[in-house]
């Protein structure tokens, strides 16, 4: 049995790029310090701010909420959790349950937004009606609802659980396809735009996917570890993750170098030419006057639903402790 490099207790994790073997306590501390460093270095959260952590019910959400819950006193910020129930059958039922258990375990307030309740259809049916891939509809709906929720709750930040593997794969894809604007989007913190969009931050951007799984597991946090039925293990994104990890096995630390480098350099890549303007239907961020959520709902539901959905979210918030 291997021993912890710091205290000699039995090791449960090996961090090859740092040449460390760590016991449970020291591993948890290692991940928490890594996140704290990232949050401070990129000014992701300032004292007195209100943070909405978006949680899906998976391991990254558990780690995100678990670490932020521990950092919130030292850094002095308020924390609430938000879960979007996508209406993807059993997968969504279990994800929602895991999110509720996580909130209970951490003693944090949770707001659940159900796509079915808000729009009358879950993501798969919306996608079918829109004749678009489920994952692209899912992306539009999630992004919109989280931003609307954060605006209505007067939050300063939306934190998401993107880990280093997600970001490295996304960055490599952006490079391979030469969509260099996508590299710029991988900033650990984007600024708020008054009344239009709330700042988005990625506190786990330097935490490896394996570290994120181990953190949630070793802290005993509730999470649901199944694949969304729409995810494809044959996708380019998944192959890129595997490829980067094969490289990481032979060159420990290369993934960390990529995500930390990108965090510093993201602004040096080209940005969009479009200036953000309020959506003429709902007032939230759009490029060109109509947001992608209002465009999607016009097509599927016969009318742009952004404004109505914002109203429903506002009354949900008023009836909660958030």
């Amino acid at each position: 049995m291997a021993k912890c490099s710091l205290c000699g207790a039995p090791a449960v994790a090996e961090v090859r790029y740092a040449r460390l073997r760590l016991c449970r306590e020291h591993f948890l501390e290692f991940v928490e310090r890594k996140v704290e460093r990232a949050v401070r270095e990129h000014h992701m959260i300032r004292r007195g701010e209100k943070v909405v952590a978006a949680i899906s019910g998976g391991k990254d959400s558990a780690t995100l909420a678990g670490v932020l819950a521990r950092l919130r006193e030292r850094l002095g910020f308020g924390l609430v959790l938000a879960h979007i129930d996508l209406g993807i059958g059993e997968y969504s039922v279990r994800s929602r349950r895991a999110s509720e258990r996580l909130a209970d375990e951490l003693g944090l307030p949770l707001l659940v937004l159900s796509v079915e309740e808000l729009l009358g259809d879950g993501v798969p049916r919306l996608a079918m009606k829109a004749r678009r891939p489920a994952c692209s509809v899912c992306g539009i709906v999630k992004r919109y609802l989280l931003n609307a929720l954060a605006i209505e709750a007067r939050a300063d930040r939306v934190a998401t659980g993107h880990n280093a593997d997600d970001i490295a794969a996304y960055a490599l894809k952006a490079f391979l396809t030469q969509n260099l604007e996508d590299l710029r989007k991988q900033k650990p913190a984007t600024p708020s735009i008054e009344g239009l969009a709330v700042s988005r931050v990625k506190p786990l951007y330097s935490v490896y996917e394996k570290e994120s799984y181990l953190y949630a597991l070793l802290r005993g946090l509730p999470f649901y570890h199944e694949e969304c039925p729409h995810a494809r293990l044959t996708s380019l994104d998944f192959h890129l993750k595997e490829m980067i990890n094969k490289l990481e096995s032979r060159h420990p630390g290369i993934k960390l170098q990529l995500v930390r480098g990108l965090a510093r350099n993201a602004d040096r890549y080209p940005g969009e030419d479009w200036e953000p303007v309020p959506c003429r239907h709902c007032g939230l961020i759009s490029y060109g006057g109509e947001c992608s959520f209002c465009r999607l709902t016009s097509r599927v539901k016969g009318e742009p639903l952004g404004g109505k959905v914002r109203g429903k979210i506002r009354s949900l918030i008023e009836g909660s402790h958030i």
């Binding site: 049995m1 291997a2 090791a11 449960v12 994790a13 090996e14 073997r21 998976g58 391991k59 593997d165 794969a169 490896y208 996917e209 394996k210 994120s212 799984y213 181990l214 597991l217 070793l218 570890h225 199944e226 694949e227 969304c228 995810a231 494809r232 293990l233 996708s235 380019l236 994104d237 998944f238 993750k241 595997e242 990890n245 094969k246 990481e248 096995s249």
Partner: protein, 66 residues
């Protein structure tokens, strides 16, 4: 050499593998150490740990798909 039952997650597929240590198990399944966590009774094992004959080991793919 230990003969172990391996349960793969997510999915739950099982198979039998002969290996001495966790690192041999990972190699014989054609996996890489960065993308998988190996568990015995819910506790993570390290590559150098020895396997026990007849035990059941859980291999978790930690990478989520795209």
């Amino acid at each position: 050499m230990a003969r172990v039952t391996v349960r793969m997650l997510p999915g739950g597929e099982t198979r039998t593998v002969e290996a001495e240590r966790v690192s041999d198990l990972i190699r014989s399944l054609g996996l890489d150490d960065e993308s998988y966590v190996i568990l015995r009774d819910g506790k993570p094992l390290l590559p150098g740990d020895r396997l026990r004959d007849g035990e059941t080991i859980v291999v978790v793919r930690v990478l989520s798909g795209g």
